[in-house]
C-alpha cells in the first residue's frame, strides 16, 4: 500500500537496528509516551530488532487506560439514565467499572452505541430529538479538538438534546509528573505524534531545557519508531538533549493553530484530574467552559462522582509509569486477561498489558526463560 509500505520495510529496519546497536552498548531506558506507539512496538515486534541494552518503557499515553474506575462508574450511571443514548468510542466499552462495564450495562438494557467520532453522536442526537445523547469524550489533544468542534456545531445548530461527558486530558502536565517522579529513571522520550500535530513540538522544549532529556516526536509506523529511537540514542551519544521532530511529514513546530483556537474556545483546565494509578495531576484534565455548560453532561445530570480505589491486585499505576513491566504484575495473564480485564491496561489495544499479552508474550517470555 502506497505511503504505508514505505514505513514497514524489513531490510531498512535491520539496517537501522544495526546502526543503533553499533552506536552504544550503554544501557538506556527510553519511554514511548503514546499508546499508539506501544501498539506498534508490539504489533511489529520492534523489541526483537532492538539491541538488548535498549529498553522501551511503555508510558501513560493510552487514554482509555488512565480513566479511573470512578469515572467509568459515572459513565455507566449516565448510560442508565432513562431516555439517554450513550455514545462512546469502541475501546471504552469493555473497561471495567467497579461493578460492570459499559458492555454489561448495554446487555442489561442501557442504550449504549459505538461511534467513530463525536460528530456521529451529534447526528444520532439530531435523528432522535426525543432522546438525550451523551458522548463519552476521551483522549489527549488527538481527540479533544473534534469534541470541541462538535460542541461548536451543536451550539450553532441549536441542538439541545446533546451533551458531552468530558474526560479529555492533556499531555504536558502528565509528562512533567512523569519527569518529577522519583522512581523513574529515563534517558529519553519518544514523543507523541498525533497529539503533536495539534500542540506542535515547541511545547516539549522544557524537557531538554529543565530535565536534560532528549525527546523525539515520532510517527506511528514501525520505521518511524526505530528512526526515533536512533535519533534519541544519537543525541545521548553525542551529549545533546534537544526536541527533534521525526514526524515532520505531519507535525509542525507550532502545531495546528485552528485546532488550538477551538480547544481554547470550548475547554479550560480542571484544577485536578484523577488518573488511574497515577493519582491526581494538577491541570491535566479539561472541562467545558461555563458558556458551554448546556453541553456538559456532568452539569445536566448528577453523576455519582465517587472515587473508587483500584482493585488491590491491579498494578496498572506502576505499569503506566513504566516502573513495572506488564509481566511483573501478579495477575497478568491469569486473573487479568483481555477477556476478563481487571486493570484498564488490559482493555484497550493501546494498553501496555493488552499489547504485551496479545502480541509480545512469546519473545519476551522466551528471552526471559533463557536469561
Amino acid at each position: 500500500m502506497k505511503f504505508i509500505d514505505e514505513y514497514r520495510q524489513s531490510d531498512l529496519a535491520r539496517t537501522l537496528a544495526g546502526k543503533i546497536a553499533a552506536m552504544t552498548s550503554q544501557p538506556l531506558k527510553i519511554m514511548e509516551v503514546c499508546g499508539g506507539h506501544t501498539h506498534t512496538i508490539f504489533k511489529y515486534g520492534i523489541e526483537d530488532l532492538l539491541p538488548p541494552n535498549i529498553e522501551m518503557i511503555h508510558g501513560p499515553g493510552c487514554p482509555v487506560c488512565v480513566i479511573p474506575m470512578g469515572r467509568t462508574d459515572d459513565a455507566i450511571a449516565l448510560a442508565r439514565q432513562p431516555g439517554v443514548i450513550f455514545t462512546t468510542y469502541g475501546d471504552a466499552m469493555r473497561v471495567p467499572g467497579s461493578k460492570m462495564s459499559l458492555l454489561d450495562a448495554k446487555a442489561g438494557g442501557a442504550d449504549v452505541r459505538m461511534v467513530y467520532s463525536p460528530l456521529d453522536a451529534l447526528k444520532i442526537a439530531k435523528q432522535n430529538p426525543n432522546r438525550h445523547v451523551v458522548f463519552f469524550a476521551l483522549g489527549f489533544e488527538t481527540t479533544s479538538p473534534s469534541t470541541a468542534m462538535t460542541i461548536l456545531q451543536a451550539a450553532k445548530d441549536g441542538v439541545e438534546n446533546f451533551s458531552v461527558f468530558c474526560n479529555h486530558i492533556t499531555i504536558v502536565p502528565t509528562l512533567k509528573a512523569m519527569l518529577d517522579s522519583p522512581d523513574l529513571k529515563l534517558d529519553g522520550f519518544v514523543g507523541p505524534g498525533h497529539v503533536s500535530t495539534v500542540i506542535g513540538t515547541r511545547t516539549y522544549e522544557f524537557v531538554p531545557r529543565e530535565y536534560g532529556k532528549p525527546l523525539v516526536v515520532s510517527g506511528f509506523e514501525p520505521l518511524d519508531i526505530l528512526q526515533s529511537v536512533h535519533m534519541i540514542v544519537k543525541q545521548i551519544v553525542e551529549g545533546r538533549a534537544e526536541v527533534e521532530n521525526q514526524y515532520g511529514r505531519v507535525v509542525a513546530r507550532d502545531g495546528n493553530r485552528r485546532a488550538l483556537e477551538v480547544l481554547f474556545e470550548v475547554f479550560e483546565a480542571r484544577d485536578y484530574f484523577e488518573w488511574r494509578g497515577l493519582g491526581s495531576i494538577a491541570h491535566s484534565g479539561m472541562k467545558l467552559k461555563k458558556k458551554y455548560s448546556a453541553f456538559d453532561a456532568e452539569f445536566k445530570f448528577s453523576v455519582p462522582g465517587l472515587r473508587v480505589a483500584d482493585p488491590k491486585a491491579c498494578q496498572c499505576g506502576e505499569i503506566l509509569k513504566g516502573v513495572k513491566k506488564p509481566w511483573e504484575c501478579k495477575v497478568f495473564g491469569t486473573a487479568c486477561t483481555p477477556e476478563t480485564p481487571i486493570g484498564s491496561c488490559m482493555v484497550s489495544s493501546e494498553g501496555a498489558c493488552a499489547a504485551y499479552y496479545n502480541f509480545g508474550r512469546l519473545s519476551k517470555i522466551a528471552e526471559r526463560a533463557g536469561a
Binding site: K43, E47, A107, E339, L362
Partner: protein, 367 residues
Amino acid sequence: MITEFTPSPLFQRVERARRRKPRVRDTHITLAHGSGGKAMRELIEGLFLEYLRNPLLEKLEDQAVFDLNGLSSRMAFTTDSYVVDPIFFPGGDIGALAVNGTVNDLAMSGARPLFLSAGFIIEEGFPVEDLRRILASMRDAAREAGVEIVTGDTKVVQRGGADKIFINTSGVGVIECPVNISASRARIGDKVILSGAIGDHGTTIMIARGELELETGIASDTAPLDWLVADMLDEAVRRNATDLIHCLRDPTRGGVATTLNEIALCSEVCVQIYENRIPMREEVRGACEILGLDPLYVANEGKLIAVVSDEIAEAIVARMRANPYGREACIIGEVKAEPPGIVAMVTGFGGSRIVDMLVGEQLPRIC
C-alpha cells in the same frame, strides 16, 4: 523468530490460565458471546456442552460426522443461522451466505454436501420483493454447490420481534473417501495452506453499513467451497494420501487468527505463519487500516485453511490453484512443536509476535 523455546514459569502460568476450563461468569449474554472468539468458546464449552454433552458434540468440530448402520460411507451433519446486517451487500446477500456457509461447514469434513433445510424467521412488514431476491440467490447458490434445499420452515414475528429476516440452514453430506479430518490432527512439520485473499467479507459488511461513508470496490467472497475440497481430496486419492490431509476449516467469524488458534489448541502444536505470505487485496488492507481492524480477525465466507503433510503440500496447492476458488492458494506457514497451543507470526517488519484468539467484539452480525 523463536528457534529454541524453554517455557518460563510465567509462560506456563499464563498457558495454564489460558487452558482453564471455560466457565460462563456473565449474568447476561453480550454481543461478545456471538463473536466467534473467546467469549463464544466459553459459552459453548461452559454452558451448551454442560447441558447437551455427547461424544459427537464434544468434539466441537463445525459439523458432526457419524456412521449409519449398513452404509459404507460416513455422514456429516451441520447447522448455522444467518443474521447478517445489511441483508444485501456487494458480492452477495443473506440467502447466498446461508447456503454457502452450511455447504462449507459440510465440505470442511471432507463431505460431499447433499441436502439442505432452510428455516426463515421474518419480521412483519418485510417486503416480498426482497424475499424473492433472497430466494433467487439461494436457488443459484444451491445450484452452484450441487445441493438441494429439500425441507423448510417459516415463522413470522411481529414488528421488532426480529430484524428484517433471519435464516437457519442445516445440511447433510456424505464422506465418500477414507479421510480423517479434524482440528486436532495437525502434526509437526505439516504445512498450513490458505486458499486465497483474506478479509473480503467482513470488510464489505462493515463498509456496506455506511457508517463510515467509504467507497471501495470490495465485495464479499461468499462462495461454495465443496468443489475445491473435492479437487483437493481427489488429488490426495490419486496419490494414495487421503490420510495426509489433516485439518480443514473455513475461517469465518474470528477470521484466520481464530481458526489457527483452534487448530493450535486442539492439536497441541505451534502454528507459525509469515505475515508477508498472507494474500490480501490492497483495498481490504487500506480499509482495515482506516477502520482499525486487524485483517487476521476479519471474517471470510469463501476461504479455507488446510493443514496437510509436507509431502503433499505443493501438489495440493497446485491443484487448488486450478480451481476458481483456490486461484490464490498458497502456503502461509508450518506446524512446529513449541510452544504448543500458540499461533506465532513472523511480521513483515522482521519481528515476531503472538496471534491470539479474538477477544470481545469486532463486528456484530457479520454473517
